[in-house]
């Protein structure tokens, strides 16, 4: 089955959705644990995709079909993971901030986070501080990811952090920010825990922030 797991990882890397689904079914029929399939097949595959992206070999089309293959396989595993008590490595609330409706970068980041084993609560766009806070509470999230496209909307990331402080919730979540105008300096200035240059780096950063091995 080791060979089949490797093939599943490769199917994810190649974005071959049909193969990913077939191989996942084969592994399940062979009684391989859903967690092992997730870790050594899907997450390993998306991790490799992330590395290829960071090296400049994969771009958005390659990432999208890999994420699509991963999602299709994950749909088979999801109910079984719940049944067997497998927990995600963390829960991330993610959204584009208030006043901003741009979501492409946020969507790519959500794909990588899911591919890394996180439970992702995608709040969508134009998200207010209140909605972020409510989602963190409801989902017991330990991570918050905020995206902004414009210099005029990125300032809202600071408002959200202040709102969390006012609710005495700041220590409950690690906060990562990203988007076109956002820099490490901005993250430092507003008291965020991390900044990510791109979607693949965001997944790595989130793991680092909650102390999960890369």
């Amino acid at each position: 089955m080791e060979g089949t797991l490797k093939n599943l990882k490769q199917a994810i890397i190649e974005g071959n959705r049909n193969n990913a689904v077939d191989l996942t079914n084969q592994l399940l029929e062979a009684k391989v644990s859903p967690k092992e399939i997730l870790d050594d097949g899907l997450i390993a595959g998306m991790s490799a995709v992330g590395e290829l992206f960071k090296k400049g070999e994969y771009f958005v089309p390659e990432m999208l079909i890999a994420a699509r293959a991963m999602k299709s396989a994950l749909e088979l595993l999801r109910p079984l993971l719940v049944d067997t008590g497998v927990e995600p490595i963390g829960t991330v609330v993610i959204g584009t901030v208030r006043g901003d409706l741009h979501d492409i970068g946020k969507n790519l980041t959500a794909m990588f986070l899911e591919g890394a084993g996180f439970r992702v609560v995608d709040m969508g766009v134009d998200v207010s501080a209140d909605k972020f806070i409510a989602a963190i509470k409801e989902n017991k999230a330990n991570l918050l990811g905020m995206s902004a496209l414009l210099t005029t909307t990125m300032t809202y990331t600071s408002e959200v952090i202040k709102a969390l402080e006012a609710e005495n919730m700041r220590k409950q979540v690690k906060i990562i920010v990203g988007g076109a105008p956002i820099t490490q300096e901005w993250a430092n200035q507003i008291g965020a825990d991390g900044f990510a240059l791109d979607a693949a780096s965001a997944a790595d950063k989130c793991k680092e922030l909650i102390g999960v091995a890369a």
Partner: protein, 376 residues
């Protein structure tokens, strides 16, 4: 020198008397903010800026518009489908279902009037049937509304002009993204590259057929191909995909444009363009805009690497201009003197001027720019 000669001399690494003073273009929300900060109502911001800086300014002559449309004819009916939670969900003129803040309306989708972020829900082309039935037939180069009735007359009037005549055309990546959506196009590039090639070939031919009557009758100064094919730190598609699907179009169009006497073919792409510059140069493009700093671009390094193969417009970090003072000065001095050494550069804000650049800061920045470019 008149405007036309000055632009050509500047971007072609010649000997301009001064470099065109183009600090950047504010949008609606920026002007609204500036009106609270010292820009009077009822006067054009550029005219007032020149007055404040005491730079002699000759109002431009009335310009003749060629009146040619590269857009779909007819457009889709613009309509509001839903109004909820402070957003409109609309069908826009391109046939896409789009969500915008209800601070705006769908007319803001027609052109970049302001900094309107959008969430796209659905695009008109999901498959070949959609392409054939919904989109392709709208691009007839011979449609009677594509050229104005007095086109020949307008071209005659343009032949003796001393102002810049430019044209903007959507490149194949931009255009296919309008039809299919960004994610849709990216998936098609992997799932059905032949279909993508078919649409690219169609757009290439349509572009050439619509350009030809223009190029035959008038000598343009500047053609801009709009692609917006990059984002923060990355190109959207690989250099290999760019070469396969886009380079042939750029080459064909650029050859036709330059053969007509137009010397400048420019690429408009936001985002990180380092991987794309050599491909643009290979296509024969010789200018690009805006070279956004926040995306990771280093225009000074690009000049060192590509020399006179590429001219630039823009290149100044909007965030530094917003900070003003010494931060602004350091940014302008980082970029402008080194690039002006060789020429081929019209410095300006690296995209539309956002409202967080205050009017006083914009005046200070333009003053410095004017000092460096020969106006003060």
């Amino acid at each position: 020198m008149r405007e036309r000669e000055r632009l050509r001399e500047t971007l072609l690494f010649g000997q301009p008397d001064k470099v065109p003073l183009q600090p950047g273009h504010p949008r609606e929300s920026t002007l609204a903010t500036w009106h609270q900060q010292g820009l009077p109502e009822g006067v054009h911001w550029y005219v007032y800026l020149m007055e404040v800086l005491d730079i002699p300014f000759e109002p431009p002559p009335p310009r003749v518009d060629m009146g040619v449309s590269f857009k779909m004819i007819p457009t889709f009916e613009e309509k509001v489908l839903e109004h909820r939670d402070g957003h409109y969900i609309v069908q826009d003129w391109m046939g896409a279902i789009t969500e915008i803040s209800d601070r705006y309306d769908y007319t803001y989708i027609r052109a970049a009037k302001d900094f309107v972020t959008r969430k796209w829900h659905r695009f008109p082309v999901q498959n070949r049937q959609d392409w054939e039935e919904k989109i392709k037939w709208r691009y007839d180069p011979g449609h009677p509304e594509r050229f104005p009735d007095d086109f020949a007359q307008r071209c005659r009037a343009l032949r003796d002009r001393d102002y810049v005549l430019s044209l903007t055309v959507n490149g194949p990546f931009w255009q296919l993204r309008e039809w299919c959506g960004f994610e849709g196009l990216c998936l098609l590039l992997m799932d059905d590259p032949d279909f993508v090639q078919e649409m690219v070939d169609f757009w290439t031919d349509f572009g050439l057929q619509t350009l030809e009557p223009i190029l035959d009758q008038v000598e343009l100064d500047y053609v801009q191909i709009s692609e917006d094919m990059a984002y923060k730190a990355h190109s959207m598609i690989s250099p290999a995909m760019t070469r396969r699907f886009l380079l042939p179009t750029w080459k064909q169009w650029t050859a036709a444009i330059k053969a007509s006497g137009c010397p400048i073919v420019s690429m408009d792409s936001d985002g990180y363009t380092a991987e794309l510059l050599p491909i643009w140069i290979e296509a024969g493009l010789n200018c690009c805009f805006p070279t956004e700093v926040a995306a990771g671009n280093d225009i000074v390094a690009y000049r060192r690497q590509y020399g006179r193969q590429m001219a630039y417009l823009g290149g100044l970090d909007k965030r530094a201009l917003a900070a003003g003072g010494e931060t602004m000065r350091a940014e302008v001095m980082r970029v402008v003197p080194p690039l002006l050494e060789e020429g081929g550069f019209i410095p300006g804000c690296d995209h539309g001027v956002p409202p967080d650049i205050s009017w006083p800061n914009f005046v200070d920045y333009t003053r410095l720019l004017a000092q460096l470019t020969g106006w003060l």
